[in-house]
């Protein structure tokens, strides 16, 4: 399986994601600079975290207009799995590939800490190996991570199974404690926490490596 890791000016988790995909999960990954089109042969796309364009205007707002986004949209429509992590999630939301908005955290500050997620939807290409309501330890690192959608949208998302992850605790004031969502089709997933930071025992202080099931889900999808 070949995974395209999209790089924007200011992306800063691209190398971490690449390392985890290739060195830890033995997938074939390739960096894709935002000004070029995506290679035809990628089977999945990851938009990694960071501060594209320095988070200016709003996190993700400028990158959402990058040339690469047209390709991401096209491939998303063709059912290619797309994962946006942190800034990648913000970009997907700004580009209209996912519903809602990401606002400043309640605390008004950047927050870097470990938290726990509850898996709500285990039917996406990135969550198929989880069981429903499984608790997974994972870190967050963001300043604009408070997910927001209005009541009607939330109800509809709930109905469609578009809520993928909720926080186990009140972390940043997000609507319905939402940490990650997907499109109605389920192939485009966005999440604020960083799975690539929880995938190796050595840097995971909780001693529980269940978060790596995200990458194993992706790999299993490719094999089937």
């Amino acid at each position: 399986m070949r995974v395209g890791v999209v790089v924007f000016p200011g992306s800063n988790c691209d190398r971490d994601m690449y390392h985890v995909l290739t060195d830890v999960f033995d997938l074939d990954a390739t960096y894709c600079w935002h000004e070029h089109g995506l290679p035809k042969d990628v089977d999945a796309i990851v938009l990694p975290g960071g501060f594209s364009y320095g988070d200016r205007l709003r996190a993700g707002a400028i990158a959402a207009h990058s040339p690469v986004i047209a390709d991401v949209k096209r491939m998303a429509e063709a059912s290619v799995p797309v994962l946006g992590v942190c800034n990648g999630f913000q970009i997907l939301v700004e580009a209209g590939l996912l519903p809602g908005a990401l606002l400043k955290n309640d605390s008004l500050s950047f927050m870097c800490e470990w938290t726990e997620l509850l898996v709500q939807n285990n039917k996406t290409p990135f969550t198929s190996k989880f069981s429903k309501n499984q608790r997974i330890p994972i870190p967050i690192a963001n300043g604009e991570g408070r997910y927001y959608a209005d009541e009607d949208t939330l109800r509809e998302m709930e109905r469609n199974g578009q809520i993928v992850f909720k926080y186990g605790d009140r972390v940043n004031g997000s609507s319905g404690m939402i940490a990650g969502v997907c499109n109605p089709e389920g192939n485009v997933v966005g999440m604020m926490p960083h799975p690539e930071r929880a995938a190796e025992p050595e840097i995971n202080p909780t001693g529980r490596g269940t978060t790596s099931l995200m990458f194993e889900s992706l790999r299993a999808g490719a094999a089937s």
Binding site: A61, A64, H65, L103, Y148, D150
Partner: protein, 88 residues
């Protein structure tokens, strides 16, 4: 063509909370002494310097830029646009 300064003020819609405004307010209220303040809302402002034939077209052009480029997120924000100054 003359240049105009068009200001764009972006703020959260009334129903959407503004934790930053709340925090500044609560810090004030906690400091005591300023109970006369009942609410603080924050906004972001962008000032565009733009060349256009006249103020109205400058305004219309900036409005279009804001909509096209999603300078504000219509889901959560509202925007007010005004011509601040013109020159030639």
């Amino acid at each position: 063509m003359p240049a105009f300064v068009v200001s764009v003020t972006i703020e959260n819609k009334p129903g959407i909370s503004d934790p930053e405004g709340d925090t500044i307010l609560n810090d004030l209220v906690l400091q005591g002494a300023h109970e006369a303040v009942s609410c603080i809302r924050t906004a972001k402002m962008l000032r565009f310097t733009i060349e256009e034939s006249d103020g109205d077209s400058a305004l219309a052009r900036v409005q279009k830029i804001c909509d096209d480029l999603r300078i504000y997120n219509p889901l959560v924000s509202q925007v007010s646009i005004g011509v601040q100054a013109g020159s030639n």
